[in-house]
């Protein structure tokens, strides 16, 4: 019935009781044919009611008007690496598909302001939801960044799905040793097809930040609040997605933002000291791609069984309650399982690094205040006094196991990339 009919084709659909004229629209629905009517509305027609489909006019995709890219003297060269996600995709209005927009021309067409801020290079590294990211992807990104650095780029922007953007930011922070250009990750919480998208503002602020400053580190650039008035630069190892949907989902944890950028006038205000561009050589300290690192959260009614799965892992991050605790005390007839948990953690800690992190997200671990914390330390769990988020702890453990496997315990509490804050002010 739909042979030779492609999305965008104008077709006439005859059903048992009606006749429709419209453009065939791509849809994953098996039971309905989706038609875009002349009014612009889409409707789904039950396939088993359709008597016939007639081709009226083949779709003729109009070429996207070419934007000329001039290299402007005096502007910095900024490379944009796309990994997919909401920020770099756009809806194809005629077919219904969501396509990535990643060429420099397409980006300039979407955000024309950019060409006055920097000379951009742009390409797609991967087109994926950030939830699908694995260590291999961090390595690919790092290598692509190195390529750009060798081509004398003066800054990198990575467009990224927001869900795991803070993991990637932490991973790149560790992998890119002696980084000599700024690497800014940006995302969007509202898709760029809509007038209210946060994509443009995040993109323009990040580009301006690279273009106008000597900043040199891995950071995230996203909305400061629900207003379209400021973006913040959040350190790559201290950022976390703290809201499912708000524009200002990314927050700095146990540290402070590096800078604020006003919008649309793009005035930059540094909020403290920052790492500056220096003449040094970038070294890639990649992650081992077959590493197995666990991340497990303490909770009431926990069973030792939950930890069985980590027996053959390379490392484990515990998300402890409060100051760094797990249910390990047998206090009555109902808590004998807790002795098993204690023994299980002990076994695991003998085989691999087991690192504590706070499930409260905010604040520092203090495992000497209560006895469970002391007991856990005694059986070899490390990480006391850390204020890293569980996600940064997870990435740091993987990176240490990849690059400094013999020094995991010592280096875990050594501040390598700004991941540890000695003085907490809130």
């Amino acid at each position: 019935m739909l042979k030779n009919i492609l999305p965008g084709d104008l077709i006439e659909v005859t059903t048992l009781d009606n006749k429709f004229l419209g453009k065939y629209f791509a849809s994953p629905d098996k039971n309905h044919l989706v038609l875009k009517l002349d009014s612009g509305y889409n409707i789904g027609i039950k396939k088993n009611k359709i008597k016939g489909v007639k081709m009226v006019k083949k779709f003729n995709k109009k070429p996207v008007p070419k934007v000329k890219l001039d290299i402007k003297k005096g502007l910095k060269n900024v490379s944009i690496l796309h990994t997919g996600g909401t920020i770099s995709s756009a809806v194809d209005y005629s077919t219904g598909g969501v396509n990535p927009h990643f060429t420099p021309e397409e980006l300039i067409a979407m955000f024309p302001e950019i060409k006055e801020i920097a000379n951009i290079r742009s390409r797609l590294v991967r087109n994926m939801a950030s939830d699908d990211m694995r260590f291999a992807h961090y390595n690919i990104l790092a290598k692509e960044i190195e390529k750009e650095v060798k081509k004398a780029t003066q800054g990198i922007i990575i467009t990224h799905g927001t869900d795991t953007m803070h993991y990637t930011a932490a991973a790149l922070s560790f992998i890119l040793e002696d980084l000599n250009v700024p690497v800014i990750l940006i995302g969007a919480q509202r898709s760029s097809d809509r007038g209210s998208s946060d994509a443009a503002m995040n993109f323009i602020c990040a580009t301006t930040f690279i273009a106008k400053t000597d900043f040199c580190d891995v950071a995230i650039c996203m909305h400061k609040s629900e207003n379209d008035d400021f973006c913040v630069i959040i350190p790559g190892t201290k950022a976390r997605k703290m809201h499912t949907s708000r524009r200002d989902a990314f927050k700095v944890v146990n540290s402070s933002n590096i800078a604020e950028i006003s919008y649309p006038d793009c005035k930059i205000n540094f909020l403290g000291k920052h790492k500056k561009v220096e003449d040094r050589k970038l070294k890639l300290k990649l992650l081992k791609e077959n590493l197995k690192i666990g991340l497990v959260k303490a909770h009431p009614q926990m069973f030792a069984e939950e930890l069985n799965v980590y027996e053959k892992f390379n490392g484990l991050v515990l998300e402890g309650t409060g100051l760094g605790h797990f249910p390990i005390n047998k206090i009555d007839e109902f808590t004998s399982e807790h002795s098993k948990i204690f023994n299980k953690i002990k076994t695991l800690a003998n085989k691999m690094p087991v690192v504590m992190s706070p499930q409260t997200i905010f604040g520092r671990l203090q495992m000497n205040v209560y006895s469970p914390g002391r007991l856990i330390q005694e059986i070899g769990v490390i990480g006391n006094y850390s204020d890293m988020t569980p996600e940064t702890t997870f990435i740091k453990l993987a990176w240490l196991l990849s690059n400094h496997p013999k020094e995991v315990k010592e280096m875990m509490l050594e501040n390598l990339r700004g991941e540890l804050t000695k003085r907490l002010l809130e």
């Binding site: 009781d17 009606n18 629209f25 629905d29 309905h32 989706v34 009517l37 002349d38 009014s39 612009g40 509305y41 889409n42 409707i43 789904g44 027609i45 039950k46 009611k49 109009k62 996207v64 008007p65 756009a90 809806v91 209005y93 005629s94 219904g96 969501v98 067409a109 979407m110 509202r190 898709s191 760029s192 097809d193 809509r194 007038g195 209210s196 998208s197 443009a200 503002m201 609040s225 629900e226 207003n227 379209d228 008035d229 499912t244 949907s245 708000r246 524009r247 919008y263 649309p264």
Partner: protein, 465 residues
Amino acid sequence: MIDYKKLGFKCGLEFHQQLETHKLFCNCPSIVHDDNPSINFKRKLRAVAGETGEVDLAAAFEQNKDKVFTYESCPTSSCMVEFDEEPPHEVNSEALDIVLEVALLLNCKIVDQIHFMRKTVVDGSNVSGFQRTAMVGIDGFVETSKGKVKISSVCLEEEAAKKVEDHYRLDRLGVALVEIATDPDIKDADHAKEAASIIGMILRSTGKVKRGIGTIRQDVNVSIKGKERVEVKGFQDLRSIPVVIDNEIMRQQSLSKSVPEVRKAEPDGSTTFLRPMPGAARMYPETDIVPIEITDSKLKTIKLPELLTEKAIKLEKKFNLNADLAKELIKEDIDIESYVKQFSKIDVKLLATILTAYPKDLKSRLNLDSSKLTKEHYFEIFTLLNKGEISKEAVIELMADAASGKKIDASRFKNVSEDSLKKELEKIVAKNKGASLNALMGEAMKHFRGKADGQRIMEILKTLI
């Protein structure tokens, strides 16, 4: 006299009616109120390239203004869905049911699977930059005195925010709307008014649409041969439709070059420019909402109400009322049958008149606020009338008491007995020897207005002279 046919008059109507349910995509109530808004935020909107790769004309028009939009909201009537900080929740199923009911009443075919679309709006009135809308019914019709007017579509959509001075209030944003569009089947200016009133009546027949100012809006699309289509918005009431249409025809006739545009109906019957006509490229799928299949078994659960016009005819016949009175009772949503049951001795016509016309008289003749009259007031007055303790002339006086905040005092209107009425009337006749019947009647009414039936007084006077 305008010769519409000769002019190539083309006209279609569009309605936006708010539904009596909570908001379409969240659990906020659909209430418009004036509490102090405690939530404020600012946004910018960007025009987005449309289907053809070009930025949509209407979108570009607004984008040129390069505006920062300020929004304010009360925590009681909007949430993060309206702030565009949270994706839409499940579609309000009650709203969908009402729209299905409306679509069926308008003889539409129901779409097998409805798809919500994003209609680009960049004037700031939708925080998201688009309005969510879905086509639910197509190919319907209403019967009018000048033939069928086809209904091209019935859609379920969300309301826009309300502009207040230089910013937007979010209480109205997201309120569920039914949008009804007719084909350009309207034959002349009066026909537009008739079709509009029929569709309005059908909407009210559901009993599930909001009532009152601003809850329904009619737009009229008008063009004549050789001129572009103009959409006229913002009619104050149906009565102004014919005048505005005729004026718009004359305006278009006087133009050497016309452009498609949206215009506003002014109170004086003229129209003024609002904005260019939005292009067709502004609609694309709302990917946050899954398409909804409307099954036959779902449609069977939609109960269709009796139309208000049918109800009025029934009343007319049952109580032998005149058509206008019956219509008025229906329009005011007065359950006359329950009054008839309770106050069986009062004539139905009188009951109906007291309930529909008297409140208006209070306003127009005595400048009193009839809304102060409660059910209990009516009950008290009807009870007195039903027992024969007061005459019908006293009713309006007692209603006036209640409307001006006084206690209903029937003592001054208590019917005088037949004996004392006769005695008093004899006195009056004796005092005014030789006076005409009318003059005597006038004199008698001064004493007995509200205390005795006028007709009875006349009868007694006739026997006395």
